[in-house]
């Protein structure tokens, strides 16, 4: 009896699998999109943000009938924050997985390694998480970035001071001596000079520096009106701690990166007040596009899916995915893509202007986004408030910053 039942079950399973198989075969082949991104290692945290952004894009596209009626399937590989692995995985995605298109991961060194592979196989590669100027100085045709260049990203943090009264006259610039942060310092310097702010101190320090007090004490003695810091999150946090300990209260302090990460406000609490940071996007910007609607609607989707607000890097990553999608729709392409198709996509990316929730995207000849105005945000009552550009500002900049001893 048992045995007969078993045979019956087997037969049923066989029939079911046949039906299922034919059902799958009738489905159109989805768009295969590959991403090599850091999910563990130093950039594990940042990389997972980028993954969330692409995941939300994938789910939203599929819930709205796919691209040209065909669903999207994104494959993520973990490069473990090692650039050599990023390059290897990018090649694997192209050669053995035969993906139709790529999207970029996080980090300048990662993209620096991945982009030559994409260039060689003629795959457009759009990233939203890398901005070192070096990426754009290689004459590549297939590399694109929705972020501006590192030196340009910090422009808002300096230009904002033209809107305050009295205008600061002197600035000190310090920063960690690694690629992205040292470029941010160069940008700070460039725009200080443009705005007639005298740079009274300029110093790069190694990431391994443990004692920020002595360094900042030296800066304090020069009494600059404002302090501009080329930073990552860790550098930004250490700087605030040290400034308070040595009672260094310039009229304002601005960072290239760090304060927009929620942990900054969560752990530094009141000490994070008045801090200014560079950004490229905030949910209140009046941007609107086809895929996600308004910037604020993208924010709501994020809230619903991940229970948190997106960082600007996530918006930039999703913005890149949308730009690529818009080209596919314009050209009316269907998978699998040929080499000629990808050449056309690359040309369209260079030529077209994209209107998205992330703002206008116009890739210059070097692949950098030229249409995007840099944003400055300030922490006011524990919230990131957009203070620059002035036409989109949701709050007025609080200036000068309240001295430590009076808080």
């Amino acid at each position: 009896m048992m045995f007969r039942n078993f045979k019956l079950v087997l037969a049923a399973m066989f029939v079911i699998s046949l039906i299922a198989g034919s059902a799958i075969a009738e489905q159109p082949k989805p768009w295969k999109i590959g991403v090599a991104v850091s999910l563990t290692g130093v950039f594990g945290k940042d990389g997972s943000l980028v993954k969330d952004a692409y995941t939300l894009w994938e789910e939203t596209v599929n819930s709205r009938g796919g691209i040209n009626g065909i669903p999207v399937s994104v494959t993520f590989y973990d490069d473990k924050s090692d650039p050599a692995t990023t390059a290897k995985l990018t090649e694997q995605l192209i050669v053995s997985d035969k993906v139709d298109l790529l999207l970029g991961g996080f980090g300048s060194s990662q993209l620096f390694a991945a982009s030559p592979v994409a260039e060689k196989y003629q795959y457009p590669l759009i990233s939203g998480g890398a901005s070192s100027n070096k990426l754009f100085e290689r004459g590549f045709k297939y590399y694109f970035s929705t972020l501006g260049k590192a030196t340009e990203e910090v422009r808002g943090c300096v230009d904002i001071f033209t809107a305050v009264d009295p205008k600061p006259k002197t600035a000190a610039i310090v920063g960690a001596d690694i690629l992205f942060t040292s470029l941010a310092c160069e940008g700070f310097k460039k725009y200080c000079e443009k705005n007639g702010i005298e740079v009274v101190h300029y110093e790069l320090f190694p990431m391994a520096l443990q004692d920020y007090n002595s360094l900042l004490m030296k800066v304090k003695n020069k009494n600059p009106d404002i302090l501009l810091v080329g930073s990552h999150l860790l550098v930004a946090m250490k700087t605030i701690k040290a400034m308070k300990e040595i009672d260094f209260s310039p009229k304002a302090v601005a960072f290239s990166y760090g304060p927009t990460v929620p942990k900054f406000v969560e752990d530094l609490k009141g000490d994070a007040e008045y801090v200014i940071a560079a950004s490229e996007w905030t949910p209140n910007m009046p941007y609107e596009g086809k895929m996600f609607g308004k910037a604020s609607e993208f924010n709501q989707l994020y809230q619903k899916r991940f229970n948190r607000n997106p960082d600007y890097v996530e918006a930039a990553a999703a913005g890149g995915a949308v730009a690529q999608q818009m080209v596919l729709e314009e050209l009316g392409l269907k998978p699998p893509l040929t080499k000629e198709d990808r050449v056309k996509i690359m040309e369209a990316l260079h030529k077209d202007k994209f209107q998205t929730f992330y703002g206008k995207i116009e890739f210059g000849p070097d692949g950098a986004n030229e249409a995007h105005p840099p944003v400055a945000v300030q922490i006011q009552s524990g919230k990131l408030e957009n203070v620059f550009p002035l036409e989109f500002a949701e709050a007025k900049i609080l200036y000068p910053f309240k001295p430590w001893k009076q808080r």
């Binding site: 130093v42 594990g44 004692d211 002595s214 701690k241 300990e245 752990d267």
Partner: protein, 290 residues
């Protein structure tokens, strides 16, 4: 005297106090067992995280969490020595380097899995509070750490000199065979020593937690500084940690003030290199180089 110079020296001494506080345990463990503990920074990290979580969940002040950090780290250190390091004690030193390096990787990576890469910070109502005396700036949290460093050094010296267990530790350090013949359970003494070293390191992790940034990967840079401090003061000579810490702190602060921050980091290694070549027994010449 020039106010900038005085301030630079004060900064240096306070920084040196921090260095001394977290290096004393490293010196003790080396002095007794000849183990260069490459997982030293992880002990500091665990001490700092103990403070962080007690602060987050129970709103316990970092200074009150110090005893918990000591108990936790003592148990951790005792068990590590008893069950792991004791296995290689009779073998060439390279084995203990490999083992403690493995421990460093293991503890740091487990911590990453549990606590993620996030950078954390403890902000209390008095965070960053400082005194301004005669125009000179003295942050209280660092002053407290300085006092803790003095107290740890003195306490450790007192313990080693005046207690039965301390005597047994010294005896084991001097000649473990004779100590064994005199009835000392040297495996247990080793475990107690490592536990003690870990406990004072955990204590230092807790007292520096109000002014440092805490993350699972913070350990390595602390190990490097502790190594320099201990070489400077004399390997295994407990008061040497204080001498080495203060010397390094002042040297770095002066370099950062009068040269630049890059030089202040480089100077650590220049001093380390010169000491190892010219005077491997430390500034006071009391270090153990065997």
């Amino acid at each position: 005297m020039d106010a900038v110079l005085v301030q630079a020296i004060i900064n240096g001494l306070l920084l040196g106090g921090v260095y001394a506080a977290y290096s004393a345990g490293f010196s003790l463990i080396f002095g007794v067992m000849g183990v260069v503990n490459l997982a030293h920074g992880e002990l500091i990290m665990l001490g700092a995280f103990t403070s962080y979580w007690l602060f987050q969940f129970f709103n316990l002040d970092p200074y009150f969490s110090a005893p918990f950090a000591m108990v936790f780290l003592f148990s951790f250190g005792y068990l590590v020595q008893r069950f792991i390091l004791n296995r290689v004690m009779g073998l060439p030193h390279i084995m203990s380097y490999i083992l403690t390096f493995g421990l460093h990787l293991m503890v740091a990576n487990i911590a990453i899995k549990i606590w993620t890469h996030d950078f954390r910070s403890i902000t209390t109502s008095y965070s960053g509070a400082n005194a301004a005396i005669l125009g000179l700036n003295i942050p209280y949290a660092r002053l407290i750490t300085f006092v803790v460093a003095l107290f740890v050094t003195w306490g450790l010296w007192f313990f080693l000199m005046k207690t039965e267990t301390g005597r047994a530790i010294r005896a084991t350090a001097q000649d473990k065979e004779v100590a064994r013949l005199m009835g000392v359970d040297i495996r247990n003494i080793y475990a107690i020593t490592f536990g003690l070293g870990a406990a004072i390191t955990g204590l230092s992790g807790a007292v520096i937690s109000p002014f440092v940034i805490i993350s699972p990967e913070m350990g390595l840079e602390y190990t490097i500084i502790a190594f320099c401090v201990v070489v400077l003061g004399g390997m295994g000579y407990i008061p040497g940690a204080l001498v080495g810490g203060l010397t390094l702190g002042v040297a770095q602060s002066l370099a950062a003030t009068y040269l630049n921050a890059g030089v202040s980091v480089a100077i650590t290694f220049i001093i380390l290199f010169m000491m190892l070549v010219i005077r491997p027994t430390g500034i006071l010449g009391k270090g153990n180089i065997a």
